[in-house]
Amino acid sequence: MNLAFSSDAERRLQELLGRYPNRQAAVIPALHLAVREFGYLSPEAMDLVARRLEVPQSLVLGTATFYTMLHKRPVGRYHIQVCMNVACYLKGSDNLANQLKDRLGIGFGEVTPDGMFSLEGVQCLAACGMAPVIQVNKDYHEDMTPAKVDALLDQLRSAPGGEK
């Protein structure tokens, strides 16, 4: 299968290339772009980035596998990340993690069968003063409580068209 970027993404790629003195420096931005386009980095997507940037495939693979946000597997429409680090731990993040596992019926690193949710335990999200913190896709949800987690899940379930 020959994957291609949308024309929008192509435009963005050209813009990105103008920001750096060489093409290799655009690898991470281009991989971000590919994740946004295709949801995750399949071997074909990484190959596409290597071809478009004219850099070796091995280099793209090496970089893609180093960074946690460059998903190598599909995640849910809503990717829920629970901060498990100290400040959030002190404010009860373990309970929130268990609540999410129970309600979604999945563990960390898993996706619900309908592809709607994935769950991950993550490191400090740099919002410790507002702990405990959960990130859903691009958004932070701060000062979370079990009731707020319930409300958040209900809201996400009823708005399946939400932005990725």
């Binding site: 971000h32 960074y67 946690t68 460059l70 100290v86 002190l90 740099a126 410790c128 507002m130």
Partner: protein
């Protein structure tokens, strides 16, 4: 919603760094209403040399954690290197407990950007990269909107406020790797590679981004540069300490009534921060421990809290100011469980390049985990300290030390809790250990 309880009424330096709170955003118009770009105008009327001298005189110590004087670092740039110079801003904000730089990106990007433009002028850089932590999608949108305002207003681009000096500012989004906060790993990451720290020397000021001389500074350091130019070096010194100038943003989290960001002078009393600004502990419980500067700094006991929050002050107590991100935990908290979160973090984030760090951080995690899960063995405390000591000083970058220091300090400060855990085969506080 983000909540930043801004400075307490009693804070003498209210509003220099934290200019807004809660859900506010300072755009270019508001920045100008607040006197924005006055500092930049002053800088552009001076020679770059004179700007560097002023920053040096202000004793601005880097706010990224190590406290290296900014003016001194800028002085390391080679004078006769024909290659372009780069300015790189570290907005990776990864040290657990730290949440100050996001404030600038999310609420007051022009305070940062004005410092960036001044610094670029001072060091002769025509290109600045701001490396922002990957998870900060919304802050990145806001930072980029502020940069666009500057281009549109002709503040940067082909000229800087009409002066024949071209400057481009580009945001580079990280992708989820704490190690990229380490300055040389950050450079590798901008170059499109895995974030593996480089051997030093050469230091980035000599061989940095794309092989060119590069200055790397933290976000809050840039905000400090702006204040130095606006108020003058003497006034900046007066806002802090003679050897450690300026106001500072302090983060407060954990078991306190009012967690958040607070501004105070460099040298603020730690007790004042916790009890006055932070309102004391939840339910007024006694404090069990305080991590003063992010998770890599040594934990302090309740009888060690009579200190000032500045680089020398916290060092005198046997710890470090780090990012001035204070985490408080009260009686009833199990230190083994807290240390496990820290040990897991560094094991997860080791880049794997050097053996003492890659293997050592894994060992530390597994030993703390076995104690937490009730499988600790007599001698584990000494084993932890000796394993940590074998990492200290033996790694390419400071992540190894960052992993070792909390282990050594937790075991030393809370030895009885660790021994009880091992002896009972369970948590003396009745905690149920959690898997990950």
């Amino acid at each position: 919603m983000t909540m930043f309880p801004t400075t307490s009424q009693t804070s003498p330096t209210r509003g220099y760094l934290l200019r807004c709170g809660n859900d506010e955003f300072i755009d270019l118009k508001r920045h100008r209403e607040l006197g924005g770009h006055a500092a930049l105008r002053k800088a552009l009327a001076m020679t770059p040399d004179a700007v560097r001298e002023q920053v040096k005189a202000a004793n601005l110590r880097g706010r990224g954690g190590a406290g290296f004087p900014a003016g001194t670092k800028w002085g390391f740039l080679p004078k006769d290197n024909p290659k372009p110079r780069y300015l790189v801003i570290n907005a990776d904000e990864g040290e657990p407990g730290t949440f100050k730089d996001r404030y600038f990106l999310d609420h007051d990007p022009h305070a940062l950007l004005e410092g960036v433009i001044i610094t670029a002028w001072a060091i002769g850089a025509h290109q600045a990269y701001i490396y922002v932590r990957g998870e900060f999608f919304r802050p990145i949108e806001r930072l980029e909107s502020a940069i666009k305002e500057l281009y549109d207003a002709g503040v940067i681009g082909k000229t800087v406020m009409g002066k024949p000096f071209d400057l481009d500012i580009v945001v580079h989004q990280g992708a989820g790797a704490y190690i990229c906060g380490e300055e040389s790993a950050l450079l590798e990451s901008i170059e499109g590679k895995p974030g593996r720290p480089r051997m030093k020397p050469p230091f980035p000021a000599v061989v940095g981004l794309f092989g060119c001389p590069t200055i790397i500074n933290n976000v809050e350091t840039m905000a400090g540069v702006r204040l130095i130019l606006e108020h003058g070096a003497d006034a900046f010194l007066a806002m802090g300490l003679p050897k450690d100038g300026g106001p500072k943003v302090f983060g407060l989290s954990g078991h306190v009534k009012r967690p958040g960001l607070y501004e105070g002078p460099m040298g603020l009393s730690l007790k004042k921060l916790i009890f006055e600004y932070g309102g004391g502990t939840i339910d007024d419980k006694p404090i069990k421990g305080v991590i003063p500067g992010g998770s890599s700094t040594a934990v302090l006991l309740p009888d060690q809290l009579d200190i000032t929050m500045d680089f020398e002050g916290v060092k005198a107590a046997g710890s470090s100011l780090g990012t001035a991100s204070v985490m408080v935990f009260t009686e009833g908290t199990c230190p083994v469980a807290v240390l496990l979160r820290i040990a897991r973090f560094y094991a997860h984030e080791s880049c794997g390049q050097c053996t003492p760090c890659r293997d050592g951080t894994g060992w530390l995690e597994r030993i703390v985990e076995s104690i937490e899960f009730g499988h600790g063995r007599p001698g584990d405390c000494d084993l932890l300290i000796s394993a940590a000591n074998q990492i200290m000083g033996n790694t390419i970058c400071a992540l190894g030390d960052a992993a070792a220091i909390p282990v050594i300090s937790f075991v030393q400060q809370f030895r009885q809790d660790f021994e009880d855990h091992i002896r009972l085969g369970a948590c003396p506080y009745g905690n149920k250990p959690e898997g990950h």
